[in-house]
């Protein structure tokens, strides 16, 4: 970790101003991703702007029935918030499937959007990595790539530049919910649909998202559609907790009175550089009832074009099965996180 200066502004304009003035400055919120990477010498900001004292710790109801999540609300406070639990249980479930209680008490909603890949090579400065050092190569492509992407890895050349995944659980739910990210920057305020917030690596793997230098995320808006009856977040990983997803699936269904699917949203985590959706696959479900063959067809379509790189090839089949299971669970309204083994309350 290099040496850096530190400031603690208490309003948004001052924070944005400071970031723009300093060279190689970064915001710090929970610090759980930034400090980790600074200790690994992957990030080396010269100045940190501590945004924890900005007035962005709110969760407000929106006039049209949506919810605005302040960028500085912690992941834990968001997941356990009464309105989130009631109206957006999918989001709550996804957040609680991630990291650990301690980390969720630190991690902020804003910071979670920005968390960087957990690619082993990205983290290890002894190895080649196009995301960390553009042009150095991609160690994962020919190396150990168990946790890597199977979708959306194309670049203009023959070989992908980067096969990293976006590791967030929260963002997978946000993607299913069509959240909107609110940003303040040197050039004023703007909103970015979550679908456009993260990007695919293409030829610029060093860019994770579409945010411009100096821009600050102030809030995340959740639209009025709640999906609070037929939903699930299914996360598959190498141990029962405190591990990143190998594959995760967020499903949100709206059923009509006859029990047919009126609208389906399916977002995948752990498979690409951004939470993955495929509207055509979702459309297959419209107007249909639950049917395993259909679910499998949807899964096939979602994984269309998927490619494995050796250690991660199993993810293609795993993702398909996870989609079928998640659709089953969401349709049945059993929100259990794929976890049949629960002991009854004893406290």
């Amino acid at each position: 970790m290099n040496s850096f200066s530190y400031s603690r502004p208490d309003d948004v304009n001052a924070a944005v101003g400071e970031i723009s003035e300093q060279t190689q400055a970064k915001f710090i919120a929970g610090g759980t991703n930034l400090l980790d990477l600074m200790k690994e010498n992957v990030e080396h900001p010269q100045h940190l702007v501590d945004i924890n004292h900005l007035p962005l710790g709110f969760i407000d109801e929106l006039p049209e029935g949506g919810l605005r999540l302040g960028a500085l609300v912690t992941n834990a406070d968001t997941a356990y918030h009464e309105l989130v639990q009631k109206n957006y249980p999918l989001l709550s479930m996804a957040i609680l499937a991630g990291a650990s209680p301690q980390l969720r008490n630190m991690a902020t909603n804003g910071g979670n959007l920005f968390q960087r890949t957990r690619c082993y090579y990205f983290y290890d400065t002894a190895t080649a990595c196009n995301k960390r050092e553009p042009g150095s190569g991609c160690g994962a492509l020919t190396g150990y790539n168990r946790i890597h992407a199977i979708l959306g890895t194309a670049s203009s050349g023959n070989t992908p530049q980067c096969i990293a995944t976006h590791p967030s659980d929260m963002c997978v739910a946000l993607r299913a919910l069509d959240a909107v990210v609110r940003v303040s920057g040197p050039n004023g305020d703007r909103t970015i649909p979550i679908a456009d917030f993260h990007r695919l690596p293409g030829d610029e793997p060093e860019r994770d998202n579409t945010i411009e230098p100096g821009e600050l995320v102030t809030a995340i808006d959740l639209p009025a559609e709640h999906f609070n009856t037929h939903y699930t977040y299914l996360k598959l990983r190498d141990r029962a907790s405190y591990a990143f997803a190998l594959v995760s699936v967020a499903v949100a269904l709206r059923l009509d009175e006859g029990g047919q699917i009126a609208e389906a949203r399916i977002a995948l985590g752990g498979v690409a550089h951004k939470p993955w959706r495929n509207p055509a696959a979702e459309a297959l479900l419209t107007g249909k009832a639950a049917d395993t063959t259909l679910f499998r067809q949807v899964a096939e379509q979602l994984l269309d074009g998927a490619q494995g790189y050796g250690n991660n090839t199993f993810k293609i089949e795993l993702a398909k099965r996870a989609i079928v299971r998640a659709l089953d669970m969401a349709y049945a309204g059993s929100t259990q996180a794929g976890d049949a083994y629960k002991q009854e309350d004893i406290l």
Binding site: N2, K39, R146, D238, A340
Partner: protein, 743 residues
């Protein structure tokens, strides 16, 4: 006599541990302490052509960067770097020259006034290398397998015995045969505490070193030899060790570097490794095994073939006992075993919890399960058919072996009798349920050790021995033994360990500490008791004046006549008789070789496991497990249970989660963090049950104990793999069984 032995007592160091008062190696302070940070090689093999330290040194507060170029002179001979656990070969010497032998090798130490500064300066060091091709893949280098060199280490780890009978012929003629290849990935110990040494530079140049080690005297020996110092100038202290599991059996490189820096700068230095650097020294070696079993139609196993090839470094021949476990458990008449190693460009492997045992036993125990299915015999029944009271690897009887009773009690507790042998026959929704079992076994050794006991003028007992407590409960059980031997309350007894100034004890490994140090503590307390008895007899009008040693007992802080408890002298009165001085005794305990040599000595276990496997998603969970242990006398069922539970968690980890994954293209372990090197978390661990079966053994050692550090893990992996087969019909012979292997 008090009655502490066998009681489920809380640990005597409990308060220290729950209040944060227990101090580990990196937590001792020294005036003017400096901090060292290790720079690690980014390549796997080759030479350093240039190392640029100027930028680092330009920072105010950076005191020194020590590299192979500017390091002080150190001992020349290989011999000087041999610690008590060194395998045959030429030990790794940090900063010896510009040669790189493995990825992550330490190549420089930055010393600065603060930790943060040292860490930053380390990032500014630029290194140029000339790379050479490396080989790190055991699988693709099997053709280079060779016999290990023998040395001192071979005494404890003998090669497999010569073939007996005629395997080929008998196997070929056997009506029932199974054959398989079993393998596991390298694993790193990853104790929670990262390796650290705080070297305190005393005014006269003497060193007091707080080191993370399983043997303070081993570290002391290493430092004195490598730096040509006298024993009286180096004191190593290690009162608490934050887990080790074998990783502390050899001094690690942070010790060497910290000592070198302290002597160079004449200041105190602390060096702590990073979690990533915890993957840059010893590990459990990747091992590939082949097994073939031949049985008659009644299930009697007549032919065993078992070979194993493990990895080692290019500089030392690390070995384990692997195939030998097969004939130790199963008494076949026709046995061929083989053990070889392949030198690769990795660091020398290092004993890790049940080294060799949890490699060989899971392989043979999986093969036995395969044989049970081949024959259509219940796996427990098959093990009973092939039960033996003799260890056929040595052709000696066991000093005790209550494994049959383990099978009985374990099976009953688990409900094994209700098992339908058909794979896939039990389910709960999407979950397939499987039941599997395995035998476990670990040797019960005893080493020579010394201990000292002092009864102070205030009537308190202080006992010391230079052993370690890595969480095993040494403090507690030694206090129990001492208190019982001299009839004192535990509160009046203080047992201390982990200081090289204390009486000699071996490195704390192989589950031998309870037997080894326990015997020494018992002996020294008995001999102290004799002294006290003599003093008591000298007291004018002593009621014991005419008594013989055999007539008295130590009870309630008194020496009294067994026949007439009223005839008693208090221990306080006995000390008072010593002219105002404490009464002191130092003693040695040696294993009773003559008594032991005709027997094989081992702890055994029977393990029963239930798993739930998601039929679509491949996720596996161990929902319950029972370990029935025959481990001799249980000194403290509370700490003993913890030892076994810990071993069972390790077994789950080994079977399902843990592996160090090497990218062979660059020769580097890539999942070098606790986020990506998976060990179980709380949510992975469900119902674990431990049964201690009565086992009496007066051959193994005077205490009748067998040690419990390793026996808890040995049987678990195969029981889990066998349960996974029972659930799914899939036989996975490569550990760990991650979900992708089930899909």
């Amino acid at each position: 006599m008090s009655n502490y032995i066998g009681k489920p007592l809380s640990r005597v160091d409990g308060v220290a541990k729950v209040t944060g008062k227990a101090k580990y190696a990196a937590e001792f302070d020294a005036p003017d302490l400096t901090y060292g940070y290790v720079v690690s090689s980014t390549i796997t093999k080759g030479r350093i052509t240039h190392i640029e330290t100027s930028e680092a040194l330009s920072l105010p507060g950076v005191l020194s960067v020590i590299t192979h170029e500017n390091r002080p002179k150190i001992a020349w001979l290989d011999m000087s770097y041999k610690d008590q656990d060194a395998p045959p070969g030429s030990p790794f010497r940090p900063l010896r020259d510009n040669k790189i032998s493995y990825s992550g090798q330490p190549i420089a130490l930055v010393v600065a006034e603060t930790f943060e500064l040292a860490r930053y300066a380390a990032s500014l060091i630029r290194v140029d290398y000339r790379e050479a091709p490396h080989e790190t893949n055991l699988d693709t280098n099997l053709h280079r397998a060779r016999k290990p060199k023998s040395g001192l280490a071979s005494l404890l780890k003998p090669p497999p015995p010569k073939p007996r009978g005629n395997f080929d012929e008998v196997y070929a003629a056997s009506p029932a045969k199974v054959e398989g290849r079993y393998s596991h990935s390298p694993e790193h110990h990853n104790p929670m505490e990262m390796f650290a040494s705080t070297v305190v530079y005393e005014k006269d140049g003497k060193l007091t070193i707080y080191d993370k080690t399983q043997g303070a005297q081993n570290s002391q020996l290493y430092v004195t030899q490598a730096f040509n110092m006298s024993f009286s100038d180096v004191r190593v202290i290690s009162p608490f060790v934050g887990g080790a599991f074998g990783s502390g059996l050899r001094p690690q490189y942070q010790l060497f570097l910290a000592v070198m820096a302290a002597r160079e700068l004449k200041r105190s230095v602390r060096v702590t490794l990073t979690r990533q650097q915890m993957f840059t020294f010893g590990h459990r070696p990747a091992t590939i095994q082949n097994i073939a079993l031949g049985a008659d139609s009644n299930g009697k196993i007549n032919a065993i073939y078992h070979d194993a090839v493990g990895e080692t470094s290019q500089f030392e021949d690390y070995t384990e006992i692997v195939p030998t476990w097969s004939p130790m458990i199963y008494p076949a008449e026709n046995v061929t075993l083989d053990y070889k190693i392949v030198p690769l460009d990795v660091f020398t492997p290092l004993d890790m919890r049940a080294p060799g045992g949890v490699t060989g036993v899971p392989a043979i125990e999986t093969a036995i399960d395969e044989m049970a299915y081949e024959l259509g015999i219940d796996p427990l029944e098959l093990r009973l058919i092939n039960y033996s009271d003799r260890n056929m690897a040595e052709d000696k009887p066991f000093s005790s072996k209550e494994l049959r009773e383990c099978f009985r009690q374990g099976a009953e507790r688990f409900g094994w009798a209700k098992r339908n042998p058909k794979p896939g026959s039990m389910r709960d929704g999407h979950n397939l349920i499987g039941w599997g079992m395995s035998t476990g076994m670990w040797e019960a050794n005893q080493m020579p050790a010394r201990a000292e006991a002092v009864l102070t003028v205030n009537g308190k007992l202080r006992v010391t021995s230079a052993t370690a407590d890595i969480g095993t409960g040494t403090y507690t059980i030694m206090t129990q033994i001492a208190a019982d031997t001299l009839g004192m309350p535990m509160e009046d007894v203080l047992f201390k360990l982990g200081d090289s100034d204390m009486p000699l004890a071996p490195i704390e490994g192989g589950s031998w500490t309870a037997a080894t140090v326990g015997s020494a503590v018992k002996v020294v307390c008995e001999e102290l008791g004799r002294k006290l008895f003599k003093l008591a007899q000298k007291i004018p009008g002593s009621p014991l004046a005419k008594a013989k040693w055999d007539d008295v007992e130590f009870v309630d802080k008194h020496i009294r006549l067994k026949q007439n408890p009223a005839a008693a002298v208090s221990l306080q009165q006995a000390v008072d008789q010593n002219g105002g001085a404490a009464v002191w005794q130092k003693s040695t305990s040696l294993p009773a070789m003559m008594k032991q040599k005709n027997y094989s000595r081992a702890a055994h276990s029977a393990v029963f496991v239930e798993v739930m496997v998601d039929e679509d998603l491949g996720t596996i969970r161990v929902t319950r497990a029972v370990s029935a242990i025959a481990g001799g006398k249980i000194l403290n069922p509370k700490t003993a249970r913890s030892q076994i539970i810990g071993g069972m968690v390790w077994g789950i980890s080994k079977a399902l989660e843990e592996e160090s994954v090497m990218d062979h293209t660059i020769g580097r372990f890539m999942n070098h963090s606790l986020a990506e090197y998976h060990v179980p978390v709380n949510a992975d661990i469900h119902d674990l049950d431990v049964i201690f079966v009565e086992e009496h053994d007066d051959i193994v050692n005077p205490l009748g104990v067998k040690g419990l550090g390793e026996i808890g893990i040995v049987g678990m992996p195969a029981a889990i793999a066998n349960a996974v087969f029972h659930a799914t019909g899939k036989r996975i012979r490569e550990l760990p069984i991650t979900l992708d292997k089930i899909l």
